[in-house]
Symmetry: C2
Subunit: 677 residues, 2 copies
């Protein structure tokens, strides 16, 4: 067999193929074919990011034989790399340091791809391609020459242009301040972090391979953050803590009131939230075992008020009509130092855009995560909190609103309500014959009627009912006929069921009683949930009406509430419109996921900025139809909507004759007070 002058190489999984002269480095062949292989060091055998696997054997479909002898023997560069980093697994090579000697099939493992897919838990839509806005480039820089007195920065830029095809970069003054020392420490080899292919934002001596970013969801109650490796996209640490602003008021409205009563209070609140962010950041770095300086980017989402406070904007205008946002643009490319965030001093911060005075960057993040704007089906996204944020739409149109549900879903305003914590009832079943309940509490896997339950819960007892438990107990009360469509507790049952007890002029249902406490669901509790769910449903209906539809095809429930409630019970109560139950799912922490997507994909930032711009904002507060929808939605599940798809899987009680009584009662009630989201 005569030695061929050219050799055929096929790269998998892309299937790209080409003939190259014998002796061509694999990385070079791959690049000329447009095969996606990573490299920080630019093919110098330093970073080890360009690893590939030789596939040995006879490949009929490619028409070639691939053998170990068709690649050059392991090079000194590879041995040196293995000395530093540990041995390469069998058949694995550094593509920059391996030459093609004959035909070969070369597999590029996902870990060597620049634009690898970030694993994500969502079924419907495209995965996010890893493409962080900050990237590392290793370069060798020419040493200064008195006869060609170009500055160190100019020679660095020339090197970046020549070696990485990055022309016309700008540079932070902070990089200029560090550049000369880095170049000399690194013996004229440095790694730079380049922001958006535009601007050098950091420099390290020699080869620097690890940079991280953090994605932060600043909620009213909790701050949750993920630390991601910007080269792999992996989450390497997660941390959360209570929002310290709780000391200025539990809900957002009371925090705005605090500012109104205490001019300058917004400064204290900004300091408090920024300090908490720094604490979370330290936790992340500690958990990941990295220095704070390794974090080079951060993305933020939050409701409009928290968003304002993080970025030092007084949120006071969000406390009253017309709820004007200071800005509905993304906060882009800000120095982290500008918000006192103690990560790399040249790090950048990105804040997703807020949508409207009540619809924040957290909702933008939910949209980015759930991508209704790519959906053929009509999607409804609901993020339930003190306000519910609602997004309805598909690839044609997107509408968003916030609805003032109040805190009932979180257990506030409920006589036995409490936060989700050990001891809280989270699941309830009521036997429709005996009207006896059984339940589960957080921290225990047993049902209350199972053996060993009492022992299992001895540590915390049964202390109250959390949000998901309240939804279930009221839905079960309805299914058991203890409350009717109007939400009225049927006092007549008191005769045959000791759990139904008089409570002033109304009746209550005793869910649990022990030596320390009695947990009752009162008529007022049912009313509070009815008001909250009617507000939510009315908001959804308003959007559906504006969209011109009477049914949605898919419902995603975001946030902690959405994760924990049983969607069937939510629909039985009429929190959400009728839909096939298998198309109603939890979106998990979609806001946090959206923040992470924005961290890992610069294209996603453009995407969400453009999408947010064309979201149609619907203001529920001033819409006359809202009140009408609200009243109709007080009934369980609804006064007029049929819920026929729900009825296909759940038997609902027949409507009671006295429906109108309730409607009049609801009509007399005040609307719940407006709560900023």
């Amino acid at each position: 067999m005569s030695e061929p002058e050219d050799a055929l190489v096929v790269f998998t999984p892309s299937g790209r193929r080409g003939r190259f002269p014998v002796g061509t480095p694999l990385l070079e062949a791959a690049r000329s074919l447009g095969v996606d292989i990573d490299s920080v060091c630019g093919g110098r055998g330093l970073c080890g990011r360009c690893q590939v696997d030789l596939c040995e054997g006879s490949f009929a479909k490619h028409g070639l034989e691939s053998a170990a002898s068709h690649l050059s023997a392991k090079s000194d560069t590879e041995y040196a790399w293995e000395m530093r980093r540990g041995p390469l697994s069998s058949g694995r090579r550094l593509s920059c340091s391996t030459q093609l000697l004959g035909d070969a099939v070369i597999d590029v493992p996902p870990s060597s791809q620049v634009h690898r897919q970030v694993v994500r838990k969502r079924a419907e839509v495209v995965n996010i391609e890893l493409d962080p806005i900050v990237r590392l480039y290793f370069v060798e820089v020419q040493q200064p020459d008195m006869h060609v007195p170009a500055s160190d920065l100019r020679r660095l830029k020339d090197a970046l242009n020549y070696q990485w095809h990055l022309p016309q970069l700008e540079s932070d003054i902070r990089v200029v301040q560090q550049l000369q020392q880095a170049l000399r420490q690194g013996q004229w080899q440095v790694t730079v972090a380049v922001y958006n292919d535009e601007r050098i934002i950091a420099v390290w001596p020699g080869l620097h391979e690890k940079i991280y970013g953090m994605a932060v969801d600043v909620g009213s109650t909790t701050i949750a953050a993920h630390l991601c490796d910007l080269q792999s996209g992996e989450v390497v640490a997660s941390a959360g803590r209570m929002n310290p602003q709780i000391r200025f008021g539990e809900d957002l409205m009371s925090r705005v009131s605090y500012i109104m009563m205490n001019p300058g209070g917004e400064v204290d609140m900004t300091l408090a939230v920024r300090e908490a962010l720094n604490q979370v950041t330290e936790e992340l770095a500690k958990e990941a075992g990295i220095g704070l300086n390794a974090i080079i980017e951060a993305t933020f989402v939050g409701n409009p008020i928290m968003h304002s406070l993080v970025f030092g904007i007084n949120p006071v205008e969000l406390g009253g009509a017309p709820f004007a946002l200071a800005t509905d643009e993304a906060v882009d490319g800000l120095w982290a130092t500008e918000i006192d965030l103690r990560i790399h001093p040249n790090a950048r911060v990105y804040g997703l855009p807020c949508i409207a005075g009540h619809v924040g960057a957290d909702t933008a993040a939910v949209i980015l995560s759930e991508t209704p704007y790519l959906s053929e089906e009509l999607m409804l996204l609901v993020d339930v909190g003190t306000n519910a944020e609602i997004v309805l739409g598909n690839r044609e149109r997107l509408l968003a609103a916030s609805s003032p549900t109040g805190p009932a879903f979180e257990g506030a305003q409920i006589s036995c309500g409490q936060r989700a914590a050990p001891g809280a009832i989270e699941r309830v079943r009521i036997d429709p014959q005996t009207l006896e309940p059984r339940f589960k509490v957080i921290g225990c896997d047993l049902w209350s009627n199972q053996a060993g339950f009492a022992e299992a819960i001895a540590g915390h007892g049964v202390t109250g009912v959390c949000g998901s438990g309240i939804i279930e107990v009221i839905a079960e009360l309805f299914l058991a006929g203890i409350i009717n469509h109007e939400g009225v507790v049927n006092g007549a049952l008191a005769e045959r069921c000791p759990r139904v007890v008089a409570d002033g002029r109304t009746f209550a249902y005793v869910l649990h009683q022990d030596a320390s406490r009695t947990l009752r669901i009162t008529q007022n509790d049912v009313r509070a949930i009815q008001l909250a769910k009617a507000a939510l449903y009315a908001g959804i209906k308003l959007l559906m009406e504006q969209f011109g539809t009477d049914r949605v095809e898919r419902i995603r429930l975001a946030g902690a509430f959405g994760t924990h409630i049983d969607v069937k019970y939510a629909m039985i109560l009429g929190l959400i419109p009728d839909c096939d139950l298998e198309h109603v799912t939890s979106a998990g922490n979609a806001a946090g996921t959206g923040a992470r997507i924005a961290l890992l994909s610069r294209k996603s930032r453009q995407e969400i900025e453009e999408v947010v711009r064309r979201v149609e904002k619907v203001e529920t507060a001033t819409e006359p139809r809202f009140q009408e929808h609200f009243i109709a939605a007080m009934a369980i599940p609804h006064k007029t909507d049929a819920f026929s798809r729900l009825r296909a899987s759940v038997t609902l009680p027949a409507p009671s004759p006295s429906q109108n009584t309730l409607n009049r009662a609801a009509g007399r009630r005040q609307r719940p007070p407006r709560q900023p989201s």
Copy 2:
């Protein structure tokens, strides 16, 4: 006479003319003709910047009659403006509030032109058109509307686009933080400062008319700053102070040595210079009677080391070969807070580019001020300090170098040398017959041989000789034949002149003697000046050689030394090459002027950045020819150069026969040590 439907208006001085419907406001007519009339308030009769003068009479050349009755009567808006600001002079109107009723000639006074000329003291080149990079715009912003929930920022931008044709502005987060309060305080009228037509950098409630900028020259010894009104271009205050870094070393090299000996010393030095900048800033603001927040921009020039320290760059690399600059780009659009400058917190800073390790932003500023790059004639610019910066060129080519003159020209290394201060001899004449001197000292207008001199100087006495005095005394010694072409003090004269005295193996000349001191010019003093002037001349010759010329057409001497020396004596000594004396002039504080031009004209920034990029840097230290030129330049005025144009106006002594002795002596001497500029 029937009422015309249209009226003819002619604007002077532009001569633009057009017909407009009766009732057209003058400002509108002017704008549609492209006539340059200023307005901050956008034609609302608030700012009074659009004032024009009616020219009454019959204008044959324009073919019209212009009369007061051809303009609308003084409007309520104008009366209201006069109430606030004082009466308009006769015939003067606010063009926004005055309608055209008939034909008229309207003069736009310079004070109403946006792009008016800034008065400048230079003869050769175009004046600078006022076009600061920061401009004010007054806008009325739509109030927020719950039904159209655009943010306050978006509505502001819409207003700026609609009212001022400024599309796609970006905005500082710091503006967003202040925006909502400003809009509400100003009742939806605000003034914004827009940077480079790109970015909103400040906002004030209502109409805000005054913004200022400062131009700063950070020298090794002194910091000098001018405060300019950015709307008129006028200098409203000037201030200067000693550079506090003198405590780290008198000259730049000793400051770099300090850093080398004290790692971290650069931080102290940066703090010191920034603190001094803040003190100068406070002086400026106090002198002008404005608040620090009214200063919205600052431009900086300085030698490479001071430039580095101001911008927080460790200058240590500039202390030794290869003298690598960190950056040779302009520092552009930096927040002033980034260099701890306490002016408006959103203000911007611009640093002119450095050219090479020894040729700083101060030289770039001299180039910008003197514009050799526009000159048909071959220009030589010399800025004499511890190093001399030399620029040679014309519109075709520009060369720059720095030459290590050492501090002799500043009076250091001279036995009787001192800084320019009262008591220092600055002018000297020596009678070629009697060899008797007369002189003038700083602080006294009398010559030393005039009646009353002794009394006039009694306060300070005669304390030493400053830089310009040294040039003069040595040149006069040469003209009087006391020293020869080689710089040797002729000891034979001691016999007939008591002022020539033995001084070890050489001779000295006694310039002055009184009870407290004797001021002598020693052989070593002459040698020190010869070395310094030979270094300067050699640098110039090197540039001329590289340029391919043996004569220059115009010489401009920049800086304090250039301002004070008599150019004739400088040429007699051979500091500068032969040239018609009337073409050798002082450029004054050209570096400071350059900083001011950059402050007032954004086009000038592009201009100098482009020019600096194409300046050919000549490194004197490594150029073998430098040594040769240096030796030849030791003679007075020069060993071989004829200085024929100088001889046309000054009679120089004939060359002495023993020329070679000196050359050998000079050849044995070390070159002066390299001093960073």
